[in-house]
Amino acid sequence: MPISTKILTYKNDLFVSTRERVGNLELNAGALFVLPVLLLMTAIIIYPLGRTIWLSFHRVAGFTNEWIGLSNYMQVLTADWFFPILQQTAIWTGVTVAGQTLLGLVLALLLNTKFRGRAFVRGLMLLPWVTPGIVVAMIWSWMYHPRLGIINRILLDLGLIQDSIAWLAEPNFALYAVILAGIWKGFPFAMVMILAGLQDINPRLYLAAKIDGAPWYARFYHITLPGLAPVLKVVVLLSVIWTFNFFTLVLVLTGGGPAGASDILPHKVYTVSFAQFKFGLGAALAVILFLIMLVWMAVYAYMLRKQGGEL
């Protein structure tokens, strides 16, 4: 039978044609086991995704939907707010993930050393991660308060500023104030992953390097970083995806203000859809957001493959 007429599937090292697979309960058992999960995923991921894509081609008014083709997409891409918000989203994601990873790395290295109470401190470090985003936002909102906030109090007492700063109301500071809160919220994930990765590095490598006289930074650069590379790849990939989509902090801390200075794409999707009730336009923006993430994942995987690595 010509190969072009067969659909080939793998089972261990054997090729099993689809025709043979259908009706063979032993081969199909795995498929049956994952079927419930597939159905669940269809209900909570695939259907909403499909519905959102469908909405993006319509003007929604109450219960009526009018087909308008690509109009919503054109409106988004030509809006005067789109590219500034896209830029702000890139800054929010890039700086937050870099900060989370760096802070997570430093703390993981510290927590990898032996000291009394280490287990307690490790648990304490998870607090930002387990605290709900809305609670984190409210805490930081009060910390940033121009009159009552602790951040201004400390900076004033140290003489670093002469007058309190309205961190969340100044267009030059608002986005970075949100980023700082985002770094605090997300660093434990990086820390825990990196800590786990550090356990996999053979300690004899460090011993051999010390014997050879390698200083700490050389040991870090030539042993620790390469050893952590697989973990860091996963941390960066997941952190980018989660941070890109995480808008709770913006919603509560600044509402995207002042005057849009801290607005990011997922927050814009929320305000367009649920504050302005333009569901079609919001859906188009959500699809664009989704495509950006797909492109990111594809580029990331390509770059890794080019370096000879894999996820």
């Binding site: 008014a61 100044e170 203000g257 002042p258 005057a259 305000t271 302005q276």
Partner: protein, 295 residues
């Protein structure tokens, strides 16, 4: 009922109402600068009086709590705006925004002047109602324009707070007014039990329901008058007549399907004004341009 009507058709009935246009003031601060806290109206009757009083209070506390974010911003702003004599953000036939005319620009200028003279809390562009309420209750702010519901909050959370209530400062030559808000009741066209919904709506529209269920000014006039009969401020003065007067002279924000988009642009432009990126005229012109595109 204005907020329930669109193109000559009535779509709902009021459930609870409210008027954003009472001035709460810290009586202790007023006394400290030599103002009569029992008869405050002369000190804050017009916008120039209000500004002068705010300047006097500057040494005691942050004089005025102005809002800079969320829907509370257009609500508070409209409370001042409607004292100018304007009755809407839009012209008579709702085809054009009039915010870029004298009254709208003057109201925006009031905000600008308060911010520029340091009479509002730092970070006004990010200040919301709960921030100001906390600061006012704890004595950090001297005056706050908001609605009647704030009194219950102060009574419960700051029982020692000596606050008074008076009319919202009005534009010179203007009138007593406020921004009308609240909640309405409607029956969804898709409802599978319209008869049951009608019965529920009829019950919820009764005077009995409005006086017993709603912890706020009711949609019915008779229930509202009963609710505010004996309504007192933190000084124990009966101010129910002020509340009802404001409520009856109030006007709503634009009743239009595109209002959310109008509000979003309005908030953005007012924030630009507050942070110094736009003049009052520029902010109101930009807002009007967006509103006109939505109409």
């Amino acid at each position: 009922m204005q907020t329930n009507r669109w193109k000559g058709e009535t779509y709902g009935v009021p459930y609870s109402g409210g008027a954003w246009g009472l001035l709460y003031y810290n009586a202790d601060h007023f006394e400290e600068v030599g103002l009569d806290s029992e008869n405050p109206l002369d000190a804050v009757k017009t916008w120039p009086d209000f500004m002068d009083t705010a300047r006097q209070l500057k040494d005691v506390a942050t004089p005025v709590g102005m809002l800079g974010t969320t829907e509370a911003l257009p609500a508070q702003w409209s409370g001042f705006y409607f004292t100018s004599g304007a009755e809407s953000w839009l012209n008579g036939d709702k085809t054009k925004s009039i915010l870029d005319q004298d009254k709208g620009v003057a109201t925006a200028k009031l905000y600008k002047d308060l911010v520029d003279e340091g009479l509002t809390p730092k970070g006004t562009a990010n200040t919301n109602g709960s921030d100001v309420a906390e600061l006012m209750g704890s004595g950090e702010i001297s005056m706050y324009q908001v609605g009647s519901w704030q009194a219950a909050y102060f009574d419960q959370n700051y029982p020692d707070f000596n606050y008074g209530i008076t009319y919202c400062p009005r534009m010179k030559g203007g009138r007593s007014s406020a921004m009308a808000g609240g909640w309405n009741q409607v029956i969804n066209k898709q409802s599978e039990n319209k008869e049951g919904a009608r019965k529920l709506l009829a019950h919820l529209s009764s005077k009995e329901a409005h006086t017993s269920l709603i912890p706020a000014p009711a949609g019915r006039k008779d229930a509202t008058e009963e609710f505010f009969n004996g309504f007192t401020d933190g000084l124990g003065r009966e101010v129910g007549d002020i509340v009802i007067d404001q409520y009856e002279n109030s006007a709503p924000r634009p009743v239009h399907p595109s209002y959310p988009g109008m509000s979003t642009e309005f908030q953005k432009q007012m924030q630009r004004l507050i942070i110094g990126e736009a003049t009052p005229k520029e902010a109101m012109t930009k807002t009007s341009e967006e509103i006109n595109s939505l109409l």
